[in-house]
Amino acid sequence: MLLDYDRLGWLRAVLAAFTALVAAFLLLPVVFIILLSFGSSRWLAFPPTGWTLKWYQELLADPAWINAALTSAKIAAMAAILSVLVGLLASFSLVRGEFPGRQLLRGLLLTPMVLPVVVFAIAVYAFFLRIGLAGTTIGFVIAHTILALPFAIIPIATALEGFDKSIEDAAIVCGASPLQARLRITLPSIRIGIFSAAIFSFLASWDEVVVAIFMASPTLQTLPVKIWGSLRADLSPVVAAASSLLVGLTLCLMIVTALLRRRSSR
């Protein structure tokens, strides 16, 4: 009866309490950082002695922070678009194709996800130094696209696997050309997968620290690099304000995703 929720007896109370505790543990840093960002103490006293918006003012008044955020947004958007496009094409090959080495190719395209980022970071940094792409936006976008590609391929390939190929065949028999059938029938049917791919690959670039630390130049800094620098220097509450805004962004993305999923499952 250990897998029957209604017949667990006293064990249910123990498990529920433990689950609540872990949920609190997972929630703690997120809530804590938001509270901290409104606290008035520069020394991060907690609970705060007073409430203030001055860290947000300081953050928004600092062009270095704004520029870093804009740079991050630009790079993440480009990396997301590129990896969704490339990932979409690759997914059709991986799911539908019948050619030798298909599994090997799948493994290769997903490897950047499992290889420790630091190895890729120094490898691509050395390579870009040699070909003159280090410290450039295009270099950033390429490196982040490599890292984001698995996060684009996995949801798209999963959606495509769940989509019955016979439906596309039916469209073709109905008179749609193979390209028309893909554009008008298959793509709309896997749109949730494509959307997830866009979000995941955007976040993969937006949150990426390690490659960014190596690639950044004094004139080209992403948000994580800026935060990393601040963390190594001091634990300024401005970082808490920046972090809270990032949590807000995450929440927005989660809500949009949940809404879209609900609408499509209707």
């Binding site: 029957d4 543990f25 804590f32 020394w43 120094i122 691509v124 963390l231 808490a240």
Partner: protein, 282 residues
């Protein structure tokens, strides 16, 4: 059930992968291979970088510490994740979705943000030490940061979703009937747990645990910020060797060691669960 087969040639459908293959080949495979070559050519051809790596007590200690931290993190993560996954696997969805939401929120929140929060929480004058002292449990602040404790707390926090989510899948795949049958056969809850539930979920635990272990081995950010200089991990050492010491040969050799270990464990993981399940656990 078989699908409707379409006309196919021997390389049918491979064209779409070309852009991805070019991108990954040129900007992933080439740089990584070039880096590995560098470990045996920089500053001069030979294996001196590897000799230095395995001959020096400092570096060997980094290796051992890396494995130690990864092992501790994996063990703690499994123990904490299992009851949560168990509960979530059988809970009514309405209640469970709140916990799910929290797990996703924590997973999607910026890594540096989460690590920053733990830095503030764990510091000498941080909330945790003050609360414990306020409650009279301790009289001196506990050293919670820049040591193994700090890294473990921060890493377990990051790894928990990667363990909980696949475990839920593994637990849901177990037919509750088997446990009802065990109860009817006279097994006490403890016997049913030890003899039925745990063995049946062992493949899931092993797969998730291996994934957490592999990810922990190569982790850079959290150990660098929450760990101490005396227990540096491999990823941070590689970054430092290259960035501060500009010793590319040695850094490349260390990177190669990390790559080999990671890929070997990853291959083991693939054999255990297959690529599909691994991807599904994201």
């Amino acid at each position: 059930m078989q699908g409707t087969p379409l006309r196919r040639g021997s390389m049918a459908g491979s064209g779409g992968a070309l852009p991805a293959l070019t991108l990954v080949g040129l900007f992933f495979v080439v740089p990584v291979v070039a880096l590995l070559l560098r470990s045996v050519t920089d500053p001069e051809p030979g294996l001196q970088n590897y000799a230095a790596l395995f001959g020096s007590g400092t570096y060997v200690r980094v290796f051992l510490n890396t494995f130690l931290v990864a092992a501790v993190v994996t063990a703690v993560t499994i123990v904490v994740a299992f009851p949560v996954a168990w509960m979530l696997a059988i809970m009514p969805p309405a209640l469970g979705s709140i916990v799910f939401g929290i797990i996703i929120l924590s997973m999607w929140t910026n890594l540096l943000t989460r690590t920053y929060a733990w830095m503030v929480l764990l510091q000498r004058t941080g909330v945790i030490n003050r609360t414990l002292m306020g409650l009279g449990i301790i009289h001196e602040p506990l050293p919670l940061i820049n040591n193994l404790a700090g890294v473990t707390i921060g890493m377990v926090y990051i790894m928990l979703p990667f363990m909980i989510l696949p475990l839920i899948g593994a637990l849901r795949a177990i037919d509750p009937m088997t446990l009802r049958a065990a109860a009817l056969c006279g097994a006490s809850p403890f016997q049913a747990f030890g003899r039925i539930l745990l063995p049946l979920s062992l493949p899931g635990i092993a797969a998730g645990g291996l994934m957490v272990f592999v990810m922990s081995l190569g982790y850079f950010v959290t150990p660098a910020l929450l760990g101490g200089t005396s227990n540096m991990m491999l990823a941070e050492m590689i970054a430092q060797t290259v960035q501060s010491l500009l010793n590319w040969g040695l850094g490349s050799a260390a990177a190669f060691v990390l790559l080999i270990v990671t890929m070997a464990l990853y291959a083991l993981q693939l054999r255990m669960v297959g690529a599909r399940r691994l991807a599904g656990g994201l």
